[in-house]
Symmetry: C2
């Protein structure tokens, strides 16, 4: 489905990108490059932008093209992997490496594509032996729709908090492009799971409300045949929804809209997009069994929750449905849709009751998921965020969870974000802060300029894709610390 009215509104909100020329802070010492030589250029911080340099020569007039390999890396470690040997399951086309020929020397070399990087390795694959090359006037023209002049400083003297805030903001900044991208290296597009968190961080920092509105209207305008909100949206060659649909992601549209309304009071947007929210609830209800329990599925990716193939998603999905219904009830009040409000309130009670009847293990006193009654952090977190358990019950649930050695842990900053949010929600702010400081602080210790898509404290250089060269080390769903710090801790 394509709602032209919503799409027109969305496209009218496309931001202007802000460009900034950045020079390297350091280049390796090799002055003149012959065949096989290479140079590593360090821009000092993470950049999203386009590279240009003067390619000059000493010796005879260049009598053959220069054949260069250019490898961009968000972390230096990526430079020590050989892209030619990458055999992972994600497409190698994401590896930010180019081979180019430069016919005219000297000349200005301007790479057309946008890259996400701090380091650039330039290797001379071949030139003739009549000349040597050197680089001059190396510049990255960085681009973002985030306006740094709008930023207010963090109200804190704690160096760790300042660092967490700075790196989280840089992560957000570099993902703020024509839409909120998930990662500027990969996949470079609007994913609703990331959007929800980016919007929250944005409200505490850049306050670019129009960018959130644009993304909501895009997601609302471009749905599948059933009017289901897609997991992500492509902008080019023209705006289109992906054919990936996930139970949780479609529902997050509702929460993201409510968050936006709370910041802006934009009733018009709520009215424009209310039918989209209602349809998502309708579609989600088709997944309920006769007991109001979300049916489990073995279809890969039916519900995202976390990047963990072992994780059973059923209980999380139940919690997320509750979480979305709560938001939908508020939105129904805003739009004055009394019928819907009443319906969702009843649905909410039935789902909550079902969660506590059918997805709660009375012996372990933990929520369980799937036929194998799996215990996981994700399930408890979402039951808390969805309000299936509250107050002291929730505090005790987390205590029991921490004792339960079999509990499946979290693998992404995305799921950690939800965990921290749940801890704050139940009043455990100290625990929340400690978790955040340890987890995101761990990335800082690894030298992160931006927060990563994936972080396993026990194996920081792990890649589930088969190589760090396809990992995304600037990933929007990791930008939570600035939101948490500014909203809950440093105000």
């Amino acid at each position: 489905m394509r709602n032209e009215k919503l799409l027109k509104t969305a496209l009218g909100l496309l931001p202007k990108l802000i460009y900034k020329d950045v020079s390297p802070i350091n280049m390796t010492e090799t002055q003149y490059l012959s065949k096989g030589d290479s140079i590593i250029i360090d821009f000092g911080d993470h950049q999203v932008g386009r590279l240009a340099f003067d390619l000059k020569s000493v010796g005879s007039h260049a009598d053959a093209p220069a054949f260069l390999k250019i490898h961009f890396a968000e972390r230096e470690i990526e430079l020590y992997e050989n892209p030619a040997e990458y055999k992972g399951w994600i497409s190698a086309s994401w590896i930010e490496e180019e081979q180019i020929h430069v016919d005219v020397i000297p000349s200005r070399v301007s790479l057309e594509r946008r890259y996400s990087f701090r380091y650039v390795k330039i290797e001379v694959i071949d030139i003739s032996d009549k000349f040597k090359l050197y680089l001059d006037n190396v510049v990255c023209t960085s681009e973002s729709s985030a306006d740094d002049s709008k930023l207010v400083p963090l109200n804190s003297d704690n160096q760790l908090h300042k660092d967490l805030d700075r790196v989280a903001i840089k992560t957000l900044h570099d993902c703020m492009q024509l839409v909120f991208e998930d990662g500027p290296k990969r996949d470079r597009r609007l994913w609703i799971g990331d959007l929800r968190m980016q919007a929250l961080a944005n409200y505490e920092t850049y306050r670019n409300y129009d960018l959130v509105k644009e993304c909501l209207y895009l997601l609302g305008a471009l749905t599948n045949n059933e009017e289901r909100v897609g997991a992500c949206i492509f902008l080019e060659p023209e705006p289109e929804v992906d054919d990936t649909f996930m139970f949780d992601y479609s529902l997050f549209f509702i929460n993201t809209l409510l968050d936006y309304y709370k910041q802006t009071g934009d009733v018009q947007a709520v009215n424009d997009l209310w039918h989209v929210c209602k349809r998502q609830i309708e579609l989600a209800k088709e997944n309920l069994d006769e007991n109001y329990v979300v049916r489990d599925s073995d279809k890969l990716g039916w519900c995202f929750v976390d990047w963990n193939l072992m994780l059973n998603k059923q209980a999380s999905a139940q919690g997320i449905f509750l979480y979305a219904l709560e938001a939908a009830i508020e939105l129904a009040q805003i739009t004055g849709d009394v019928m819907a409000e009443e319906e969702y309130a009843q649905d909410y009670l039935k789902l909550k009751s079902a969660a506590n009847s059918f997805l709660f293990d009375e012996e372990k006193k933990l929520y369980v998921s799937g036929a194998d009654r799996q215990v996981s952090y994700a399930s408890q977190v979402w039951m808390i965020l969805g309000g299936a358990v509250e107050g002291n019950g929730a505090v005790k649930l987390i205590e029991r969870l921490r004792q339960e050695e079999s509990a499946l842990t979290m693998v992404t900053p995305y799921m950690f974000h939800n965990f921290v949010e749940a801890l704050i929600m139940i009043g455990e702010k100290d625990q929340a802060l400690k978790e955040m400081e340890e987890y995101w602080g761990g990335m800082l210790k690894e030298g992160a300029d931006t927060f990563w898509e994936l972080y396993n404290p026990k194996n920081p250089n792990e890649s589930p894709y088969g190589g760090t060269i396809v990992n995304s080390y600037c990933h929007a769903w990791s930008c939570g610390p600035t939101y948490f710090l500014r909203k809950y801790f440093c105000n």
Copy 2:
């Protein structure tokens, strides 16, 4: 040295390129391309130009860039060599292979660089498995400064001659760019050795006199500190002479100017460039010993003659100096430089006498070269072209040469051209025609669309560079057949 006046004249003569869109005649049958698939596109004839195509997809919206390898080949055989395995001594940067990422699909892909090719292999290095690719509207925008509307048909019904003429003209056509290039694949610049032959072929076909004039003025304008004419000229980033200087190539400037004058009667050009000719003679004379014999040298590349590292160049150089002096005497007459005319006439006699005294083996009755008294085709050919031996003496010389099994043979079409020219000069037109038909006809049998830089009838796919992928299969110095046929045989 940089003579701004001559340079200005040269640059004022830069031709406009003529562009022509060419579609493929054939594409391999694979319709939809997944990771690892490839397609071979055949444009039906040799092209020099730029490639563009629509890259489209079926399946889901492309969710990762397309990573393509594009290999251009003048002969199909090049496609079956792996550029990554090329280890030859010439720079791999000449291999016409690109790796590109296409971020937006569908989109029009237009490669920036100019390539020389008939075949294009496009291989999908990687894409995601959510879509397949296909190509549409594949076009080569070919470019040349040769105007086919100026061509007159060959006056012949002999199919072999028609084919030789056609392929020679195509070779010339594709090398006629902003200058007469040696080869549009490699080295893509003005070399005087090629220019002399291209100009001769051009006079019988396109008659683009201005392009010859431009090249002569470039060579005359840009010389080394001693005012020596360079072996080749670069146009970009600005016109500059290479630091390669060869005894024979510098002297050919004189013959090329005389040939040009004979076609055009352009006395102004002769007057403008006469000082350049005189200086080349002066410099060449510095290489003479006390007996008026060109001193031999073991400096690699001091004199080109032929692409054969075994060849001793001394006797050829003596013949070439004679050949240039003859032209210089005629030019001196045209400019009215009586002093020079007299001087060169005396020089000519001394060099001729020296050739027959010191470089002629009285026993073998063949010219010999170097301390080892090497016998080669090149030495005899250049002594004939230089007039050291004439008439029946020259006919007998060739007869003895053909009997001499130790005689070093020729390896390039360039040297074969001089051989054919020498046979015609001594009245052996039948032999000349037969040699031409066999040698260039051999390339036709191998399916040549254009004539090659190198051709060994005994090993047609030989590459002295370590791989056919760096051979130049459209090379100006091979365009002789159209000149010979039209000037001497089909008129």
